[in-house]
């Protein structure tokens, strides 16, 4: 690893938008998905900022720093510098999904308590607001004591602010007073007070998504839809695609004939 470059790790719950953000910042194309568990190992990339290059590491999602599966173990090993050719963790950029902010705060508390420079990226704030919820990033920032940037990663909105943050990664605040992480009741009280200070209001459940669930997860209709989809799938292969395969063959033969 080059000396003089800063190491920043993206840490967050599964499906918080870490890989989308990683791709936007590095220009790489790590696999992303709108469901949890897509990233199972680390990817690294370089980000050029105004103050030099930053090495960004995209980690698998984890709900807390107590690992319960091999991909979560990757996060812990990275943090504690147990992976080959690695030093200690540099700075941590905690990615939090605004629609499940309460749940994300446990992870933030544990990461901040590691005593490393930390900052926060808040994702899916557009979804939170569309569902009637709200949060004030400025007030969240002062409640947590770290800088907070708001992004819509898959649309690229707010990425400039993250670039800005990354250029100052070495100077991100470390915990002066660690959030309480030893006792769960204390952690929850701390989370409640932070969310209240930040003016957090949860969003309503997405009506469209609920409506789709009502049909697709119905014991009878769900099964019917499954068989319908499979039927259409085979139809596409055997009736729609079969003639196309014929054209295919034709086009491959043409150059052959010309060559003679």
């Amino acid at each position: 690893m080059l000396t003089g470059t800063l190491d920043v790790a993206l840490i967050g719950c599964p499906n918080a938008g870490k890989s989308s953000l990683f791709n936007r910042l590095t220009g790489l194309s790590a696999t992303t998905g709108n469901y949890p568990g897509v990233t199972v190992t680390r990817s690294r990339g370089r980000v050029r900022t105004t103050s030099g290059e930053v090495t960004l590491t995209d980690l698998p999602g984890t709900y807390s720093l107590a690992a319960a599966s091999p991909d979560e173990q990757v996060v812990l090993d990275h943090i504690h510098g147990k992976l080959p050719g690695e030093g200690e963790l540099g700075s941590s950029l905690v990615v939090m999904d605004a629609t499940t902010l309460e749940r994300s705060m446990i992870l933030f508390a544990q990461v901040f308590a590691l005593g490393r420079p930390t900052a926060v990226v808040l994702t899916m704030v557009d979804e939170l607001r569309a569902g009637g919820g709200d949060v004030d990033p400025q007030r969240l920032s002062s409640a947590l004591g770290v800088p907070v940037a708001e992004v819509v990663a898959h649309k690229g909105r707010g990425i400039e602010a993250v670039h800005d943050l990354l250029s100052r990664a070495a100077d991100w605040p470390t915990a002066v007073v660690e959030p309480p992480v030893q006792d769960r009741a204390e952690t929850r009280a701390w989370i409640d007070s932070v969310l209240e200070t930040a003016g957090y209001r949860a969003n309503r459940p997405n009506a469209v998504s609920q409506g789709i669930d009502r049909i697709l997860l119905h014991p009878v209709w769900g099964v019917a839809v499954f068989f319908l989809v499979m039927f259409l799938f085979f139809q596409v292969i055997f009736t729609v695609a079969a003639p196309v395969q014929g054209w295919d063959r034709h086009w491959f033969r043409c150059p052959g004939r010309l060559g003679r």
């Binding site: 807390s64 107590a66 319960a68 749940r103 030893q182 006792d183 769960r184 929850r188 949860a202 998504s209």
Partner: protein, 120 residues
């Protein structure tokens, strides 16, 4: 919202308890004050019916501490409200709503959470 349903995978047999030894997990029943415990019935989360809401009051005594920790990470905290959205035909898994997220739990995992059913 992307599909927020997560089936808590518990595939790591003998997962090392990685939390610091000093981490304390609320022992069963501590969240139930003596006065309320007398008037409402407590049961386990696997007994919840679709469309009903309950309040979590703790974990069963036999719970694996790593599982209890993870369930709390996911929002199944003592005092939290949990509602049952639907249950698969054979009763497992069950889809629950807790802390603004929809989660799926296996019946066996749900059994380790103690609840008081809301009297409404």
């Amino acid at each position: 919202m992307g599909l927020q349903s997560v089936l808590v995978s518990w595939s790591l047999p003998g997962a090392r308890p990685l939390r610091p030894a000093s981490t304390r997990i609320a022992p069963a029943d501590t969240a139930v004050s003596a006065t309320t415990a007398a008037s409402v019935s407590t049961t386990h989360l696997d007994a919840i019916k679709p469309g009903t809401t309950a309040t979590i009051c703790g974990f069963s005594e036999s719970v694996d501490p790593v599982l209890a920790q993870r369930l709390q990470d996911l929002g199944f905290n003592p005092g939290a409200e949990v509602s049952c959205l639907r249950v698969a035909p054979l009763g497992c898994p069950m889809m629950l709503r807790v802390g603004n997220a929809d989660l799926c739990l296996r019946k066996q995992q749900a059994r380790s959470i103690r609840i008081t059913l809301d009297q409404r």
